[in-house]
Amino acid sequence: MRERKKSSAVEVSSVKKKKEKKTKDNNEPREQKEKEESQSIMKQQKNTTSRSKKEKQRKATEDYQSLRESELSGDEVHGTDHDVDNADDHHEEDQTDGSEGHRGVEESDSSEDEVAPRNTIGDVPLEWYKDEKHIGYDISGKKITKKERQDKLASFLANVDDSKSWRKIYDEYNDEEVELTKEEIRLVQRLLKGKAPHTDFDQYADYVDWFKYDDALHPLSNAPEPKRRFIPSKWESKKVVQYVRAIRKGLIKFDEPKEEEPKFYLLWGDDSSAAEKANHLAYIPAPKPKLPGHEESYNPSLEYIPTQEELNSYQLMYEEDRPKFIPRRFTSLRSVPAYENAVKDSFERCMDLYLCPRVRKKRVNIDPETLKPKLPSRKDLKPYPVACYLEYKGHKGAVVSISTEASGQWFASGSTDGTVRIWEVESGRCLRVLEIGEAIQYVAWNPLPELPVLAVSAGQDVLILNTGLGNEEEQRRVKDLLHVETPTAPDVLDLGLVEDHLLKNLLLALMFTLDGVFGRMASQGRLPLHVFHPTRSIFFVSTKKNIRVYDLLKQRLIKKLETGLKEVSSIAIHPAGDNLIVGSREGKLCWFDMDLSSKPYRVLKCHPKDITNVAFHRSYPLFASCSDDCTAYVFHGMVYSDLNQNPLIVPLEILRGHTSSNGRGVMDCKFHPRQPWLFTAGADSVIRLYCH
């Protein structure tokens, strides 16, 4: 096919050449026109060679049709002056056809060395020159001006008159009209039919075997097959050996075949969990509307049908609480009316789906039990006071304060009935009753066992009392001491007893420096609480909300502890001296670790009423608080010598037993100095001992 096409193009060019030769004598423009025409056809042919045959065919038909149409349009009709020439051409062509057919085929390859076309603009879009006066440039660079256009009517009339006008083609490139010869038209027609352009071209000519001749004894080459075709190639085997060595040395590495993991999947597994695993945005299907139940049947069972009373009760309900659907019975499906809320329901559902964002929320699933701090079992923290076995009865008013003797054999209690009683711990016997006459505020036993004296604050006075215990020697010493000490000025403060003489002097010195502080607090109408550091010369004074820590040697404030409580009611210091507990009027207990910060290490909200007192045990890791709610709480408060370990606080026991009197409950609590026992002094005038 392709060959045929080519040959047709060649023929066209050959036709041109013939024409040229024949019309040498013709005037120049004519000659040129022809050349151009052939050129344009050539160009067309060249352009189309690359295209597929079908396309070419279509093009050809179009050309042909345009040829036909041009008769009507009249665009390409230029004039009648060509008529003669055309006729001449036809004639001449007819003559030369047979003689020069073969020559054309032979010269077909040299179509390029034809005369160059008149226009030299090259292969540019022609619309560039649409609005110009010229169509391009000739070979000398001069503008080729456009021809005058005939008006349409005139050209039409001319076409009608001219019987050859259908053969004329307007060549846009060269801006001229070309009249095709009969031969050319025939050629085009043959092309359109898909035949070879020349009639004399035999498409089905016999095959000529050029290599066959009569006396051919042998084939072209009779050489035997060479040996190398039968033996393996040496070069290839060398190459193979090279590769083998390289592989053995490891120079060539192959990708290890990936071990295919057997892919299992849960055949009956839940797909929803698989969807969750994907970390891309998973599609969350809309929740399905509830399927209709039995009650929405057209003929539900009788139990679904509400009675009249129920219907009435629906009327009393709020609009929102009313059931959305009231089941009814119909005799047949035919009689079921249209659902009046259908549109509303679907609208609401759409609204719900639109307004309610469907987001997959990641919820951390934590067992709340695990969030609780791990506390040791109470059993492991024994011993601690558990049960009350002994009661000390005798006071007639609320017992305000108790104090134990250092060995733990006796303790003293002061009451609002104006008496101080000294009790024997083990038997509950009251050894002595000391009448003071005024309501006692505080009692304190001398921590030194050699001097069994008692300091009592009552009203405006601090009294040092002889307990009468101990042997004669000790009694004599006590009497000497008291004789000397009676003239000392009584002070408002209930000092307790100071262990160290040095400290005692310091305290006296300090009393004046602190006078300002106390004076101010006294003006606020409340007694300041205070406590001494057990080993160092440090003194803790509470203001209403804060604790001030003073250094007695340097006589200045070293720290201020912020309790965050409404009103501090009691303080106690750990025997090691680094921890402080503070009870408050709102029932909160603060534990301060002096090494940590000035804020409480722990705040325990345990009592519903005022905490009246707090106490540390001297040797066991115990502390207690007592409150006006008639209970005392016992806690395990372990302080580690390792500074990295924070104190361990575990609530152990609630000790009950006291009864309320005038709104007051337990007024004071003190630990036994050597046993894990707790004394509680109640407003019900009873002192209780809780033992382990």
């Binding site: 076995y389 060995s407 733990g408």
Partner: protein, 440 residues
Amino acid sequence: MDMNIETPEDQNEENSRRVQVRFKTKLKPPQKVPSNSIAIPSNLTRFGLSSVVNNLLQAVNPEWKSEPFDFLVNGELVRMSLEQFLLAKGISAEKVLEIEYIKAVAPQKEEEPSLHDDWVSAVDGSNPGFILTGCYDNLGRVWKAGGVCTHILEGHCGAVSSVNIIKSDGLKYVTVATASKDQTLRLWKFDAEELVNHPKKIRSFKILRGHKASVHSIAAETSGNMVCSGSWDCTISLWRTNDSDAAGNQVSIKKRKGNNQVEEPQLEGEAISTLVGHTQCVSSVVWPQQETIYSASWDHSVRTWDVEMGKDLSDIFCGKALNCIDIGGEGAALIAAGGSDPILRIWDPRKPGTSAPVFQFSSHNSWISACKWHNKSWFHLISASYDGKVMLWDLRTAWPLSVIDSHKDKVLCADWWRGDSVISGGVDSKLCVSSGVSIQ
């Protein structure tokens, strides 16, 4: 007691199973039943069994007066119905069951209490002729049977905390020792047989000083030559009781004569040895053998001391502050102790490698203030508690044999007297005597 009146209960016999039993006893012939086996209903309790035995005895001896008995099966006292007991112990009811019966141990009679002026803090009944008591009014008293006070021991200036009869081996004069909260011990000597119609006041012949705090307990050696005392100063001191070496101390006594209106010479003694080791008050000491002292302390331990070496041999840790200790029971080796909780514990120190108590009796409601073994029986002991009860225990059952509830307030001390009476003193200032406890 309710056991005196016994009636056979035949009503329930019809609808219950029967067991073949054979009664045996170690009692003397009038109380012995024929040893052939009989079938009795299995729902009988101790009361029913007792009535069966009494009926059997009456069949032999028509003049027999019924008497309560207690029953032992495999060494344990029957405290529920026989059927339940056999089930609980896993004893087969197929064979003939051997039931041993003994006389029920319970006080038969409550004597008239002897009234004191103050709390009775200590009592000693080791002499069958009299009872020695110590009181919070600083006096010691000697009581004869029938609630007659014969002697008043006067001289302490603090409450008497413990009393002990040192020598009562047939001599006319009896030596006793008292410990007091005035940090001294006193030795007294009086004629126990003396008949007096008015309490006679006597003074101590020897004062033992040396403790630095209240003396809490006192115990005499078996021979009576020495006493030991436990005190609040955490020590145990050993003292000599003989009055022969007193010459050197006469001077100091004379100094004191000015304010002592009594002309009698008073001796002073010093501790010959002090046992240090306890960390808190030594609340109770016992000296059952010549060479060993047992002590209980508030530091939660029971210690055994070698007297010669002055060192503690063993240490039993209890966990509670202890108030009382006594040695007795099987081979006089079991340690009974009670303290600041309602449990009476009994240890066997011969058991190696354990300090767990072998028995625990927990029927009391408050602190146990005293415990005493019966000096003849291996099984019986009494305990006194602050809940006002004195309980009589038998090691063969976990329930108390009887509860003496005669005190109104705390019981501070208790002891056996004459082997068949329980004496106890308490906060209600009474010395109660419950007699008729028949222990073979």
